[in-house]
């Protein structure tokens, strides 16, 4: 039995922005003044978010997802490892997915190899290790020159894998991170090493690098079923070219979900948080209005060829997720799934069936969503959506990917 793996993703947004934020501030990233941070009101905020994640683990989610951002209101985890470490003490079975550590932001990759090894060891081997190169905001926050970032990224990953699988001390000659004595203590718990996930936004170069190393691919762009299917087909083809074979657990996707008792109640309860997320958190990121630092020519990490392809296949000023004008507009984009259990079940099943992707990474908390609502939504999902998805997907995957039968069920997502 290899059912779809369901992960609970918490971004940990800053929820106390003033109601006139959108008029007064250009962006939620990099330069959004931290005088807006309220030390009194935030007392207990992280704990609220951590407790939501812990409850998700108790509800049977397969794992908890965290990620890294700096100097922004979208995600308050400059070190997701800090939160993962906190979760080791509150959970027992859930995977801890850090997606991912931003490698070019470190003096050298030893630090990440060491921290991930600690978390894996403390958690008894529950870490899924994500690595990411970082986007535009991170380049500004840490003044990282982007043209060099990708080369440094893959050098970092290859060195980290050596630290986890080869005995030290050994020398790493560089070029970017030359080190004479590489010899980490501790090693990670998992043998040979924690599962590695790499996020990407459809670039064939990234998929190829992932396939070469036997890693798993996480599609970070929020897409609907058909686009996810296309991505899967492309990745499957690249895997085959590398002598490997696709199965649903080689890939993951990001979803945003709110489940209410009914479609109407779901919309009513989700709206405030969703709009806060779209208009504030995405300002400067996935929103046309306000500077968009996510991509852009200013600190280009993409090759000239990729940038030309982007220009040729996109429209200047095209609306993004955060530009949705009303609820209908938002629904038509199909990026955020809000509804009663039946609606959510069918939409997610449609995605799974079309895309044959086995890891769903789901955002349940939006912007300033109230604790009780975020918890209720996750609970309804766990009780009324997840069982059907698991059952149907296990059948589907077994039928379409008979080789899965040879894999141990305990670690379907390996």
């Amino acid at each position: 039995m290899h059912p779809v793996q369901l992960f609970h993703w918490h971004f940990m947004a800053y929820p106390y922005l003033p109601p006139d934020f959108d008029e007064r501030y250009d962006t939620g990233w990099v330069t959004v003044p931290n005088s807006l941070w309220d030390r009194e009101r935030t007392d207990g905020l992280y704990q609220e978010y951590i407790d939501q994640s812990v409850e998700a683990a108790e509800l049977g989610f397969d794992g908890l997802v965290l990620n890294e951002h700096h100097q922004n209101i979208y995600g308050l985890m400059p070190s997701p490892n800090i939160v993962a470490a906190a979760l080791t003490q509150r959970t027992e079975r859930a995977k801890l997915v850090v997606l991912g550590n931003l490698l070019p932001l470190h003096l050298n990759p030893l630090r990440v190899a060491e921290e991930y090894a600690m978390i894996d060891s403390i958690s008894g081997g529950r870490l899924i290790a994500g690595f990411a190169v970082g986007g535009g905001p991170e380049a500004y926050n840490y003044n990282i020159p982007s043209p060099q970032a990708r080369q440094r990224f893959w050098e970092s990953i290859d060195l980290i894998m050596r630290t986890w699988t080869e005995d030290g001390p050994f020398e790493h000659e560089g070029p970017s991170y030359p080190l004479r004595y590489v010899n980490i203590w501790p090693k990670p718990r998992q043998v040979p090493h924690p599962q590695v996930w790499i996020p990407g936004a459809l670039s064939a170069e990234t998929m190829d690098n992932v396939a070469k190393r036997g890693f798993d691919y996480f599609l970070s762009s929020r897409t609907h079923g058909a686009a996810t299917r296309q991505a899967r087909e492309r990745f499957a083809e690249i895997l085959e070219r590398n002598g490997d074979a696709y199965n649903p657990f080689r890939m993951g996707v990001l979803l945003s979900v709110y489940v209410g008792e009914t479609d109407a109640q779901a919309k009513e309860e989700a709206e405030e948080g969703v709009w806060y997320f779209l208009k504030y958190c995405l300002k400067g990121h996935l929103r046309r209005t306000g500077r968009t630092l996510t991509f852009g020519p200013g600190v280009p990490s993409q090759s000239v060829r990729s940038w030309r392809a982007y220009l040729e296949n996109s429209t200047a000023g095209a609306p993004m997720l955060g530009d949705a004008e009303d609820w209908e507009d938002l629904e038509s984009k199909a990026s955020i799934v809000v509804g009663g259990p039946a609606t959510v079940r069918e939409k997610l099943w449609d995605l799974i069936e079309q895309a044959e992707v086995g890891n769903l990474l789901i955002q349940f908390h939006f912007g300033n969503m109230k604790d009780a609502l975020a918890r209720k939504s996750a609970r309804l999902f766990a009780e009324e959506v997840a069982p059907a998805l698991r059952e149907r997907s296990a059948d589907l995957f077994a039928r379409k990917y008979p080789s899965l039968a040879d894999r141990p069920a305990a670690s379907a997502a390996e």
């Binding site: 982007s146 500077r291 968009t292 630092l293 200013g298 040729e312 000023g317």
Partner: protein, 272 residues
């Protein structure tokens, strides 16, 4: 104008634009410039061509010059240009540069003063001046609302809504080839100039005194990218230099007041 590809070691090529006859000037480009935002000469260059043999290489990765992953600092770039000068058979030369090209020209001059007869810099970046940082041009290349380059124009020109400014950096998505040309320039600039922020070499100011041949710094009176103090520090730091401030122009003075700036540069470089 003619263009050619000059071969350098390690399989690299440099796209070089050439025109005119007379004493040789090597001109290193900036952003609102040939190889940066323009495929060809601007009126400023055409004015120089009347009196000089003008040679304008495209920086590594810009225009048709090959990108070079080995370049990480401006020091690497100095070696690149020494190799190019050798390949072009230039022993000593008159050197000019604008914006980031001015920075590179200054680095060449303080390291290899014996090769540079005279040095002209227009709105040069490159210096660290405490309390007077070079503005963040990288940030401004993100179009507002996905379409407007008003912020970029305002940094690069005295009047960001002038004809020349809007012609070089139009709103909406312009011609893709030109967008790519510009992307290449910023990719190159961020390679050597994103860290430390921005476009400077902390050591350069202390080294200016090594260049003792005549130098001229030119700055637009309304330069919002490079504070005026930078032009002054250049002029004070070189052994024999002066600063000319051009009214009615911003950072891209050579594009905004081509006649006046070309006359300053030409008169200065023409001297023996």
């Amino acid at each position: 104008m003619s263009g050619r590809a000059v071969a350098l070691p390690r399989g690299r090529t440099v796209a070089v634009a050439e025109a005119g006859e007379g004493p040789v000037i090597v001109y290193l480009h900036g952003i609102a410039d040939i190889h940066g935002a323009s495929f060809g000469w601007l009126p400023f260059h055409e004015a120089l061509v009347e009196r000089f043999a003008l040679i304008a290489p495209a920086h590594p990765g810009c225009a048709e010059s090959s990108e070079d992953e080995a370049i990480e600092t401006v020091d690497d770039l100095v070696f690149h240009y020494l190799e190019l000068f050798d390949a072009l058979g230039l022993g000593t030369l008159k050197l000019a540069g604008s914006c980031i090209g001015g920075w590179i020209a200054a680095e060449i001059a303080v390291r290899h003063p014996e090769r540079v007869e005279r040095l002209a810099l227009i709105g040069p970046t490159g210096l660290f001046v405490p309390g007077a940082p070079i503005a963040d041009v990288f940030w401004e290349t993100h179009p507002a609302d996905g379409v407007s380059f008003a912020g970029l124009r305002a940094l690069l020109f005295g009047d960001g809504e002038s004809g020349i400014a809007r012609e070089m950096f139009p709103d909406l998505r312009g011609d893709i080839d030109r967008e790519v040309l510009r992307y290449k320039l910023f990719r190159f600039a961020s390679r050597i100039g994103f860290s430390p922020p921005y476009l400077h070499d902390r050591r350069l100011a202390g080294r200016l005194g090594r260049f003792r041949a005549p130098a001229l710094a030119i700055q637009g009176a309304d330069d919002r990218l490079v504070p005026r103090r930078h032009g002054e520090v250049y002029a004070e730091g070189f052994g024999d230099a002066r600063l000319e401030v051009v009214e009615g122009a911003g950072h891209s003075a050579f594009a905004e007041r081509p006649g006046a700036v070309a006359a300053l540069v030409a008169d200065f470089l023409a001297a023996p």
